[in-house]
Symmetry: C2
Subunit: 276 residues, 2 copies
């Protein structure tokens, strides 16, 4: 089974209404009048980071990618549970850095011993407005926070933009009440934009020249198809001025033959990262 | 670092009060006047199950061991998030069986591709009384539900007691309001009894002859040191009659030189499973 087939099969299982048909970054749970946001992402040695990577960077990335999903849903983190492969003091050091940086306490988890190492994290947050991927409407502008392609640029050198992503928590909370759809850019800007368009039943028309590429980006199409950016992609009504730094990269239009157009044309077949 | 050293290092991180100093089966979170119970356990091929095991059994065990932690805290499941290694239709089938058997919906999760396979699960439940491991008092009786050693017996043949544990959800909810301490038996009855005694600052005195061993148990000490039973171990005041089938296996006494005595003597050094 491919990843897409596996996820399609998971959708046939008994799903919680807050699972949103497994089509969003995170689940929601209404408890005692409050809305919780829950997300789980794993990272594996040799898949999400290179063998030999400093365990401090692994711990940072593990927590940061999960906080990024909370950010995309406008949530304030409550805590994280960590499924750790038995590691060393550097892992503890990196975990302390990321937890302290984002004021997130550890709630629990477990430890196993396995090679290659795999780490899981469940992040829990609370939110008042939870934007979905599904709400973008024809006419909405498409925006992205920060820059795209820094992780792609830093991948070869195992540099900081690749190893230590910044979850856009404050930006997510500021944007959530105003946007029609929001998600984080984890698998590639173009792939994620297509996913938002498909979920919202519209077409995303993106201008490559409008994308705020990081300094040093040489192959723009590759950078927009790489992933690991952990910026926020969002749709908002035409007149909306974002309260945080963001760049308009395109427009949402009535669903056409394709869910994604790049500079008005069909994009290349491989848009981003999918597990096989 | 050993598992114990790693967990000790995790305790130096910023912890949520509901993490209970990482000394319990699960974390608790009070949201809008309700108490949530959260737990995360991972299972890995070659560690928690044998290579070649039917993925349906892997899915069952993954969810069941997490529901067992909810059971130990008297919680009713709300949902699970699954961190899956890309698998096949048998995995989906087993996941459906366990979710339907215990009426637990899927909330979310993620999929990665890694060899050997590792699966994580976060289970979330709600509870009114949450027994901790810490509340056993001298004079309390020590009890265990069900039988001990069936998983040990079935390990060699990859039999059902090893592959398909039964989380004691109904028993846990019935017991929770009455017990002084409760936990599930996942790493070995003797090791887990010692952990409860240490957490409660008392000594657990256990009679090997009193333990309800499964039919076919030959080496009783090995069976009590094996794990994978997923029964509930609990302490309750002397006159307590459990509302569910359970067997009294010993008594909690004032803390002595050792946290655990088996038939009045020091137990063997290796009591159960610890990751190294």
């Amino acid at each position: 089974m491919t990843e897409a087939e596996f996820i399609a099969a998971l959708r046939t299982l008994p799903l919680h209404p807050g699972a949103h048909d497994l089509r969003d970054d995170a689940a929601t749970l209404t408890i005692g009048g409050e809305t919780l946001v829950l997300t789980h992402d794993s990272i594996a040695e040799g898949v999400h980071y290179k063998p030999g990577t400093d365990p401090a960077d692994v711990a940072w990335k593990l927590v940061a990618v999960n906080l990024s999903d909370l950010a995309a849903k406008g949530a304030e983190p409550i805590g994280v549970l960590i499924g750790a492969t038995l590691s060393d003091h550097r892992f503890i050091h990196g975990l302390r850095e990321v937890l302290e940086t984002y004021s997130v306490p550890l709630l629990g988890g477990d430890t196993i011993a396995v090679t290659p190492a795999v780490f899981g994290c469940t992040a829990i947050g609370r939110a008042s407005h939870v934007p979905r991927r599904t709400g973008a409407r024809p006419g909405d502008a498409l925006w992205v926070t920060g820059q795209i392609g820094a992780a792609y640029r830093d991948f070869a050198s195992n540099g900081p933009a690749y190893l230590r992503p910044t979850p856009r928590l404050a930006e997510g909370r500021a944007l959530a009440p105003h946007v029609t759809a929001m998600m984080d850019v984890s698998d590639g800007l173009l792939l994620d934009a297509r996913r938002m368009a498909e979920a919202s039943h519209c077409t995303a028309e993106i201008s490559l020249a409008a994308i705020p590429f990081a300094p040093g980006t040489t192959d723009r199409l590759a950078a927009a198809s790489w992933g690991d950016d952990y910026e926020l992609l969002f749709a908002a009504p035409p007149g909306f001025m974002p309260p945080v730094p963001a760049t308009r990269i395109g427009t949402c239009t009535t669903a056409g033959a394709l869910p994604l157009l790049v500079d008005g044309a069909a994009p290349p077949a491989r848009l981003g990262y999918e597990h096989r």
